[in-house]
Amino acid sequence: MKPGDRPGAEAIRRKGWFVAHRWLLARRLSQLVILGLFLAGPWLGIWIVKGNLASSLTLEVLPLTDPLLLLQVLASGQMPAATAVTGAAIVLVFYLLVGGRVYCSWVCPVNPITDAAEWLRCRLGIKGGARFSDQTRNWLLGAIPLLAAVSGGLAWELVNPVSMVYRGLVFGMGLAWGVLVAIFLLDLFVGRRAWCGHLCPVGAFYGLLGGVALVRVGALRRERCDDCLDCFAVCPEHQVIKPALKGADQGLGPVILSGHCTNCGRCIDVCGREVFAFTTRFTRSAHKIRPVNTGDNHPQEVSS
């Protein structure tokens, strides 16, 4: 990154604007299409998907249920009906394949809001702020089933901004706009990536799935890295990059195995040297994908 450049400037010069934004555009498209599918019914009378992200029915046959909500029902001491269990199983399998926090970056309605806050934060040069431990979300996640068990109700769903926003968009917001604004301001002024990166227990839940999910981003051509730090600058969970990108000496990587990687693909976009690519968690090296003359003499392990 040259001084004065914004992250990704080199990628735009090398690859063109569109290629340097393709995963971002694909994510925004995904978020819009999913929201559009939910809204097509109430707005246009085209009923492809009914319900909301808590539980939905697609084309009258495919049930999808949020596993975290189902977990809360179970914790509250009730056995949900088969439809919800089936729907949750389908969702679990899907995210185990495509990467747990794909939910966060490709589906969740809060993501565009926090991305916007982060963008504005960079533009305004706001630095510092409160420091939340990124363990907070895990503690909150642990508290959720506990609350359901103790109170007998889905207590978290009284305050959960994620389900609140989607339900609001599809069924009517009420005062939920205030929650959106609060999260935006939290991320803008209080702490960088405070909500999605530190606090949100829904993200933590999908992060657990991501820890064992199949599709991952890998720094497959990490030997090309010129340390421009663009990927660190754009990554919403930048702590996940270092082991994969710089861990060759410790025998780590090149695949980002941390569940907190959201598979957003932004690092792929902004890297001018095409270090990153989507791959599977079983990839051990880049050779099978595209042989690259690395210039070093160590024999490379062939991907398993």
Binding site: V73, T136, G152, L154
Partner: protein, 331 residues
């Protein structure tokens, strides 16, 4: 953990920071969880006007544990009766409910809302809408209900989908006019589903009949009560020494009818004429004198129409038996 270099005297800044960070996080999460827990307790208090869809558990806490707030019941409600509670509503966020005075439940035979529920929070074992108990209608303001003024309204009676069973009309004496009847709507919990159509239809500016949660609307008779007439019916006969028949010192040739007509000439032949039997048994015992109105008011009214008195020539007594009764003394 940031660093592990031990400082002097065993002081370890990394460990200390880890500890304080951890404690801060746990304390923060515990605070949030506590607040949310309290919120959940308060959220169980459903406003009396918010009615849950058919098949929802009576116990609000149970329902809030089973409902995942997806809104599929709302989507499949053909009358847009159901809605999801929004942030700021008094109902637990995201749960389905309806307000009878706005849009009541139309009691679909095929229960689309129950079928749509993915979790079973709306009980899939509910297959007949007549068996649902969303609430209970209560004629809560007798001062405003115009039936109590002696005016004919009966809109709630007529709109009731379980017509004639969930709401019946009980005929009572109109003491104000002295000669008219009051047609009083009476709700019967045995058949009322709590759909709220009566509340919606009530002609007052503010409904006099309202659907309330059953727990709020129903009383409960003490378990030790034994109703004599029920015991008698169960046993097939009186369980106590029967009362001796009342003896009246009636004028000769007269009899007394207890159904409200009073002193009547005895029929020739001595056998007391039974008052005309109701053409159809009324479904519920009348509250006051007079029969209740069953499914068809016109047939139910028939029993109380007086038969014509026999011609005066057939009796040795004056046409008005009271003259005989009151002879020789004033009242």
């Amino acid at each position: 953990m940031i660093g592990n270099e031990k400082g002097q005297k065993g002081f370890d800044p990394g460990r200390r920071r880890w500890l304080t960070d951890g404690l801060r996080t746990v304390a923060g999460v515990a605070l949030v969880a506590g607040l949310v827990g309290v919120q959940q307790r308060q959220a169980r208090a459903l406003p009396a006007t918010a009615i849950r869809p058919p098949g929802a558990a009576d116990d609000e806490a149970l329902f809030q544990g089973a409902c995942i707030r997806c809104g599929l019941c709302v989507r499949d409600c053909p009358y847009d009766t159901l809605k999801l509670a929004q942030l700021g509503d008094e109902v637990a966020l995201g749960t389905p409910y309806f307000v009878a005075r706005d849009i009541p439940c139309e009691m679909c035979d095929d229960l689309p809302c129950v079928k749509a529920c993915p979790t079973g929070a709306l009980d899939p074992e509910l297959t007949r809408i007549e068996d649902s108990r969303m609430g209970l209608a209560v004629l809560i303001d007798q001062e405003s209900c115009i039936a109590f003024q002696g005016l004919r309204c009966e809109v709630c009676f007529n709109i009731c989908p379980v017509r004639g069973k969930a709401i019946s009309l009980n005929k009572q004496h109109n003491a104000r006019s002295g000669k008219h009847a009051l047609f009083i709507p009476v709700v019967h919990s045995r058949d009322c589903t709590g759909c709220g159509k009566c509340e919606k239809a009530c002609i007052l500016d503010e409904a006099a009949i309202k659907v309330l949660p059953i727990a709020l609307a129903k009383g409960l008779l003490g378990q030790h009560y034994r109703l004599g007439w029920e015991q008698k019916a169960d046993a097939g006969g009186s369980l106590v020494t029967p009362d001796t028949p009342h003896q009246y010192n009636l004028p000769e040739g007269m009899r007394y009818e207890h159904g409200g007509r009073g002193l009547l000439p005895a029929e020739p032949g001595g056998a007391a004429v039974p008052s005309p039997a109701p053409s159809a048994p009324a479904p519920y015992p009348a509250l006051g004198p007079g029969a209740s109105l069953g499914p068809d008011p016109s047939s139910a009214l028939a029993p109380d129409i007086m038969p014509p008195l026999p011609p005066a020539a057939a009796s040795p007594f004056p046409a008005n038996p009271l003259e005989t009764l009151n002879r020789g003394g004033g009242i």
